[in-house]
């Protein structure tokens, strides 16, 4: 087959714990996995295009591939967030089941096809933390008037509960939290949050990350570049992604307690949301998802597929898992 080198614009710095490492691992597997006719050339965010512009750049064929979180394209294809993560949605294992064995991936491919983009699931993450708060949040009343940087549908839920969601440049998040321009922010899993340094300026760290119980990352490839690959090369890439995702999830699961120990030593207080607040989040999340479904047919279709799949598995999960 033809020798190919895909330029991959990543949405995350390669040195970012777990997330960035995962893509580097995929590239390494491609390089050392036995074929010498496929290579990935990785670019840190902004090197070719900024993170939020990756989809357009790949769709128009200007770069061959990108690696990011599907929820970033919500403004274009609202349903995309369902593949990336949803409030009170599946964890990594359940996502895997739905995507590979429950029809999820077929839907995903179908939704990207009109854009000339081929998706490959290429990363899995454990539950995120719920974020850093300047003050403890005990009741729904404490959320009222809070200035928060919170992405996606989770932000919408908090907005419903009276918080103000605000947008800031990435480099301004930390000083804004420090100086009180914002009262809270969420970012990612603890080991990644550690690198962002939020523990220095906000001491209340909340769990569970109901807004993002599990996350899926994608490698998106321009259709022409994909079709130029031989079927064997295509399988090779898919397998590298699957292996990289497994490695990333393993690493993600294995490194969080270390981060928690570190936070504790820095005087961070680890909180769990009260049952009452969790019920509130769950109820409002359901409303928000219902509205998103009502306003977009594709969203409804994908959301329905995921819901049906989870309902079918519910009995078995209840029986099979010890808790």
């Amino acid at each position: 087959a033809e020798r190919v080198r895909l330029r991959v614009q990543s949405g995350f710095q390669q040195n970012m714990p777990v997330i960035g490492e995962m893509l580097s691992r995929v590239a390494e597997i491609v390089e050392t996995g036995g074929r010498d006719d496929v290579r990935l050339r990785l670019y840190d965010p902004g090197k070719l295009v900024p993170t939020l512009q990756i989809f357009d750049a790949v769709a128009s064929g200007k770069i061959e591939a990108g690696w990011a979180w599907p929820g970033y394209w919500m403004g274009k294809i609202p349903a995309m967030t369902v593949f990336g993560s949803v409030p009170f949605g599946p964890g990594a294992d359940e996502y895997l089941a739905w995507l590979y064995a429950g029809g999820g991936l077929e839907l995903w491919r179908e939704l990207y096809a009109p854009h000339g983009v081929v998706p490959i699931p290429c990363g899995l993450l454990p539950p995120e933390a719920s974020g850093w708060f300047a003050r403890p949040i005990e009741t729904a009343e404490d959320l009222r008037g809070l200035k928060i940087r919170y992405a996606g549908l989770g932000g919408k839920v908090l907005e419903r509960l009276g918080a103000s969601i605000t947008m800031l440049a990435g480099s301004d998040v930390f000083p804004s939290l420090e100086r009180g321009v914002i009262d809270a922010t969420e970012f990612s899993i603890p080991s990644v949050d550690r690198e962002m340094g939020f523990y220095k300026v906000a001491k209340h760290y909340y769990f569970p990350g109901w807004h993002q119980p599990g996350s899926v990352m994608e490698l998106i490839v321009h259709r022409d570049s994909w079709e130029r690959l031989s079927p064997a090369q295509q399988r090779y890439l898919e397998n590298a992604c699957a292996a990289g995702a497994a490695w990333g999830l393993a690493r993600g699961l294995a490194t969080q307690s270390e981060a928690l120990d570190f936070f504790r030593s820095e005087g961070v207080i680890l909180h769990r949301w009260s049952d009452e607040l969790m019920q509130l989040f769950r109820r409002v999340s359901a409303e928000v998802m219902e509205e998103a479904s009502a306003s977009d047919p594709d969203f409804r279709r994908v959301w329905q597929s995921l819901q049906d799949f989870r309902e079918r598995q519910a009995e078995w999960r209840e029986l099979a898992y010890p808790e």
Partner: protein, 453 residues
């Protein structure tokens, strides 16, 4: 073989850039055009069967990159600070300040020169549109200094150097742009620049005091009676009236960033609105003024963003060809160690400052240098402020010294470039001392941002 062709193209890109830049065509379009031309060359060579990593699609990425600039919150403060600067320029506060300083410092030898330096520091609120503050001081203060019998070289040197303080002392549009390039928080860079800015103005003040004491001929004291007549109380009142508005404005902008009341964009908005309020109070802000300030803001912002866009076009093609890796490995393989490499980069920026403006250097050199400083583990705030002081100096260095150019435009007849060159020389020397101090004590840059946490 493949790599060689790309490398040849990288070198040719830099070569054509330098040659076309010298032609005098606008820098923004030279950068953009060279990017496009080399993408076309890559396209052509690709069609001939050569392996080249840049083609027309590479330039197509500019659309996504430009949209990234449009939709980022990093640079929103920039036009607002420009608006603020142009508005302050129209408010007449500089004239008030000068008159007040003249009265207060009459009788002190070199008093006017000290006053000009302090005004330069206060005009920091004018956010670093150097043309404005240098021209302003040149129009207002220079004739008075010459009338008092100041040595012309000393007078122009003081005015040029004082007018340039505003580019370093926050708020500063240069620092906003640098923060974006170095992925730093604007507020941190502003905080970091406070002490270096004070050190430099302190050096100016000490120099003026010493020089005028040692050589009284440089700056005879103003004759009381001609100006500055009035009781001490009256003079104090006049001084307070002139000082409070700009101080309040600086405090509002920096205070709201540092105290966490507002994001940098919002603080810049507050500054712009405050400057408009000041203009309203001082002169009555009419529709004409607002229109004029808006249009000036539009043109200043446009030329900065045009260079940003052109540089983005140039660099995406350069990067596709592997050019930035070539540069990074060339610089990091220098046998100097981190400190030596920082010194080398400073010397490079200083040398480029003879020929290029701060905008080009910030937008072309900083993106290339950013990964190097990361690899070296250098404190980014310190490094960025070293570059900022170098670029502040470049305003004063011939042959392309914007401050000299602006001052020449407004100076009285008989003051030409030779006087200007001689006049700024001591101040360039002071800048280098300031640079050395900042180099030796990085804490000057890092202390305040760290202390804030």
């Amino acid at each position: 073989m493949e790599l060689d062709l790309n490398l040849v193209l990288v070198l040719a890109m830099f070569g054509s850039f330098v040659v076309l830049l010298a032609s005098g065509y606008p820098v923004a379009w030279v950068l953009a055009g060279v990017g496009v031309l080399f993408a076309l060359i890559g396209e052509g060579l690709g069609a001939l069967g050569y392996w080249v990593d840049a083609d027309l699609l590479t330039v197509g990425l500019l659309v996504e990159r430009l949209y990234g600039t449009m939709s980022s919150y990093n640079l929103v403060p920039l036009p607002l600070f420009i608006f603020m600067g142009h508005m302050l320029d129209r408010s007449g506060i500089a004239g008030d300040l000068l008159r007040a300083m003249q009265s207060a410092l009459a009788g002190v030898s070199g008093g006017l020169a000290l006053g000009v330096t302090l005004i330069g520091l206060l005009l920091a609120a004018s956010t670093g549109i150097i043309g404005a503050s240098v021209a302003l001081l040149g129009t207002l203060a220079l004739p008075a200094m010459l009338e008092d019998g100041y040595q012309p070289e000393f007078a122009v040197g003081t005015v040029a150097a004082a007018g340039c303080l505003g580019i370093l002392v926050p708020p500063s549009i240069m620092l906003v742009l640098m923060a974006d390039q170095m992925r730093l928080a604007v507020g941190d860079l502003f905080l970091g620049a406070v002490l270096p800015g004070l050190v430099l103005s302190g050096l100016y003040l000490v120099y003026i005091l010493l020089a005028t004491r040692l050589r009284p001929g440089l700056a005879p004291p103003a004759r009381r009676g001609e100006r500055g007549e009035g009781s001490p109380a009256r003079i104090s009142w006049q001084l307070a009236r002139a000082l409070v508005p700009p101080l309040a404005l600086i405090l509002a902008v920096l205070g709201s960033i540092f105290a966490g009341i507002a994001s940098p964009s919002e603080a810049a908005g507050v500054g712009a609105a405050g400057a408009a309020a000041l203009a309203l109070w001082r002169r009555g802000l009419d529709r004409e003024t607002l229109r004029d300030v808006s249009r000036r803001t539009a043109r200043t912002t446009a030329f900065i963003f045009a260079i940003l866009t052109g540089a983005s076009c140039f660099s995406v093609v350069l990067r596709a060809l592997g050019g930035d890796e070539v540069i990074e490995s060339a610089v990091t393989s220098l046998p100097f160690g981190p400190t030596g490499i920082v010194l080398f980069l400073m010397a490079l920026v200083f040398a480029l400052g003879f020929f290029l403006d701060w905008i080009e250097i910030t937008l072309i050199v900083l993106p290339l240098v950013y990964p190097i400083t990361q690899a070296l583990g250098v404190d980014p705030i310190w490094f960025t402020l070293l570059v900022a002081v170098c670029l502040q100096t470049s305003f004063l260095t011939p042959p392309v010294g914007p401050a000299l150019f602006y001052l020449q435009g407004v100076a009285p007849p008989g003051i030409g470039l030779p006087q200007l060159y001689r006049g700024v020389l001591p101040f360039v020397f002071l800048q280098l001392i300031g640079l050395a101090i900042l180099f030796a004590w990085p804490e000057l840059a890092t202390m305040l941002p760290q202390w804030a946490y």
